[in-house]
């Protein structure tokens, strides 16, 4: 039976009726039409559904909808400020880190959580932080470059999110 769940979604309060067995991925994609959160395996192995819960990167296919009650959920749709993209979004696009793009929202969310914790990482730290996200197109090289670029931009801008 559906139950009401209240959360903060992309900076706005929201109450939604959800079946207790729905995953957060299903809630976002199929009930709220937030299709930027992708679906690739439903087993937590590919990372394309990564979102932030209270600032931590989480695979939304492994979280049940009721678990986000009273939490802050951020999806890729909530990352930009109006027309101003998050530095990671811009760096991914400009560094060639996006080919087919299906993994990109998940990578950007995972990298967002990571840079918030570690704003000036080494390449090895970046690679370790992104181990849970699969990319089949880029060979990861330009993804590393994009995260490094975003980190530099944020250091320069005094970014602190």
């Amino acid at each position: 039976m559906k139950m009401p769940i209240s959360m903060d979604l992309n900076g706005r309060p929201l109450t939604v009726d959800a079946e207790p067995y729905w995953t957060l991925q299903h809630l976002l994609r199929d009930e709220l039409d937030l299709t930027g959160t992708k679906e690739g395996c439903r087993t937590g192995n590919c990372g394309v559904c990564t979102v932030l819960i209270d600032g931590k990167a989480v695979k939304s296919c492994l979280v049940l909808a009721p678990q986000v009650a009273a939490r802050q959920v951020t999806t890729v749709e909530g990352l930009a400020h109006g027309e101003e993209l998050d530095p990671l979004q811009r760096a991914f696009a400009e560094c060639g880190a996006i080919q087919c793009g299906y993994c990109s929202p998940g990578f950007i969310m995972a990298a967002r959580a990571f840079l918030n914790e570690n704003p000036s990482p080494t390449r090895a730290e970046i690679a370790d932080a992104l181990e849970g996200n699969l990319c089949r197109c880029t060979g990861y090289v330009k993804i590393f470059e994009a995260v490094e670029t975003a980190a530099r931009v944020e250091a320069h801008n005094g970014h602190n999110s």
């Binding site: 937030l34 299709t35 590919c46 749709e77 060639g96 793009g101 950007i108």
Partner: protein, 768 residues
Amino acid sequence: MATIVDELQSIGHAIPKPDAFLKATGSATYAGDVRLPGMLQAKVLRSPYPHARIVSIDTSAADALPGVYAIVTGADCSPVRIGRFLQDRYALAREKVIYVGEPVAAVAAVDEETADRAIQLIDVVYDPLAAVLDPEHALDPDQPIIHPDLASYTDMTPSERTGNQRNHVDVSSGDVDAAWSEPGLVTVEATYRTPRQSQAFTEPHAAVAQPDGRGKITIWASTKAPFRSRGSIADTLGVPASRVRLISPVIGGDFGGKGAAFIEPIVALLARKAQKPVRLTLSRVEELTAMTSRPSCVINLKVGARPDGTLVAMEGHMLYNVGAVDDNGGGVGRSADSLAGGYRIPHKRLVATSVYTNTSPGGHVRAPSGPQTSFATESLLDTLARKLNMDPIELRLKNALHNGETVPSGHGILANSGLQECIERARDWMARELGPKGPNEGVGVALALWALHPAALAVASAATVKIDAEGGVVLSCGVTDQGGGQWTMAAQVVSEVLGVPMGQISVIMSDTEATPPDTGTGGSGTTYRVGNIVGFAAEDARRQVVRIAAERLKVDEEELVLRDGEVCVRSDPSKKLTLARVASAAGSSPGGAIIGTSQDVREEYLSAHAHELAEYVDAPSFAAHVAKVRVDPETGQIDVLKYYTAQDVGKALNLLNCTGQIEGGVVFGLGYALSEEIITEDGTNLNANLWEYLLPTAPHIPPITVDLVEIPSTYGPYGAKGVGETPCVGVAPAIANAVEDAIGARVTQAPLTPERVLAALRAKQAGV
């Protein structure tokens, strides 16, 4: 007075993909993201048996389940086999199933849970049949025949089909039997085995179908070849292709796996029956159980050379396992000549046989046949170099084809080859960058190539370029962008020809009704043919612009230059008109527009060179690969420390996309070399998930150096050649060669898992 110097404005630069911003914000719409009012969810019931007769299907209990709108089985399909090359399958099984995972029935219901429950309520009675499970015995006389009517199937290319044999190709030249008896000939011989590899795109297949109530269906699908797939859908529905509109939105990777209609006919049948929109998204289990993969291959290869390293003879026998249905052109077998690589070998017999088994379908995966053949040939050449006590690079340089020589298939003469330069650059890099080898470290080299076919294979496409009275430029072209950057490439060509900034160009792609037709992305040939066709359409528009502007500005047409959205006089750029102005002068009301068109590369432009193109391999895609590895002799674990590849791309149209394709291709090859293998037992794929089918992940990526060699092709746009497939071809042999250099043991089976490395090491220590 300022004078304009001609310089490439867009081509050759590092241009970010316009669609990357859509993708970074999550607003790009992939097929599975399409949402329509009242849309139903579909699920597929699949065969649990590798080979069984279908005795009966009872759908009554499923039909009675509230929320179920439609159930379809083979009985709902027109009894026509489909397939993009050989038509050897039904959209839904009829009479018997021939592999585990074959679609038997499908349900459309109000939500996924209901569809899942309905699937479980369908009662299928099977009568299991003996199955063909071992490809090496598939042709034995006691084996059941999977396709009794095989000879009557429709095939796009002629093939030798009989019994369980899908195709048999024999490419011979010279007198190989006599060549072996040449005095002093040094010979080496080995058997190599390669795995089934999944395309493993991150976006599973998805499709949404919408009926219009008048017998027509519109489908949004993750397909890279909508104009071809439309026919398969229409055939299954039993309607003319004009009753099916297929739109390919943003695609989440393809790598060969999204060129044929597997799920689209099913979702179309359901939508027609339910008369409601229906969506189907495959699970990862379905992808790895029931969809296509790179055929595994067993290769016996023998090569002979003179003591100075001159190759004299090669004999190769390949056995491809294409599964129960084959989505490969010619059953892969037509590529037998790739065993000879880019080498001059006067006497050769290269035989490829592909066989059917009751296992999941074989199909195209990035560079079909490339990784299999190169693993054998480049491994064996290393063994030969060792036996000759010759530097492996020198051996390759000595035998690599030069311009003007006939390629191994015999179908063309090599032109514009960068092969030697790739090898020489690799040698220089090794001397400069590799550094000393530590304990258990080794270095391996391999050459790679893809498809030495004459350029006349540049198949049909068409495009229109519209300049409207507001100055906007709209390119319409049937090609798809599965992530390779075709959209960007096409816009760059238009930008270059018309002198219009990228931001002013919109691209409409791959909709069987809204765009001109195209055969589909693939074969590393898309830039070559679509770049040309788009360029011709832009040039057609440009001619119209120049004609009008010359009249208005009262100068000769040759005096005019197009740049920054304007057309101006070369010697006096202050005399100018905007393209918007020119376009509005072109038509009547409202606004007016200039429309440039082009159709069929062969007819419009290349016909004058048809003979030449039929004969010359104009855009050979060659590369040299170097790997440095460290092997743990206790565990067999391979660490790749450094990777280098020099690839001849003709002309890098976009530095970001070009290097991105090569880096991605190398890592695709690393997966094939080290970990990727679909393991099949009794016809069932055991590791049909992403925790047991192991893809390369971020922490395991070595530093990759991409060295672009640019020997322009004659007819590719701006000299470009194909890029995307070659980079994954040479990786596995480079790694295997490096492993032997490191620990002295030769691994002849890919992927080089720790178990196989240890087994090779123990065999060597035991003196086997």
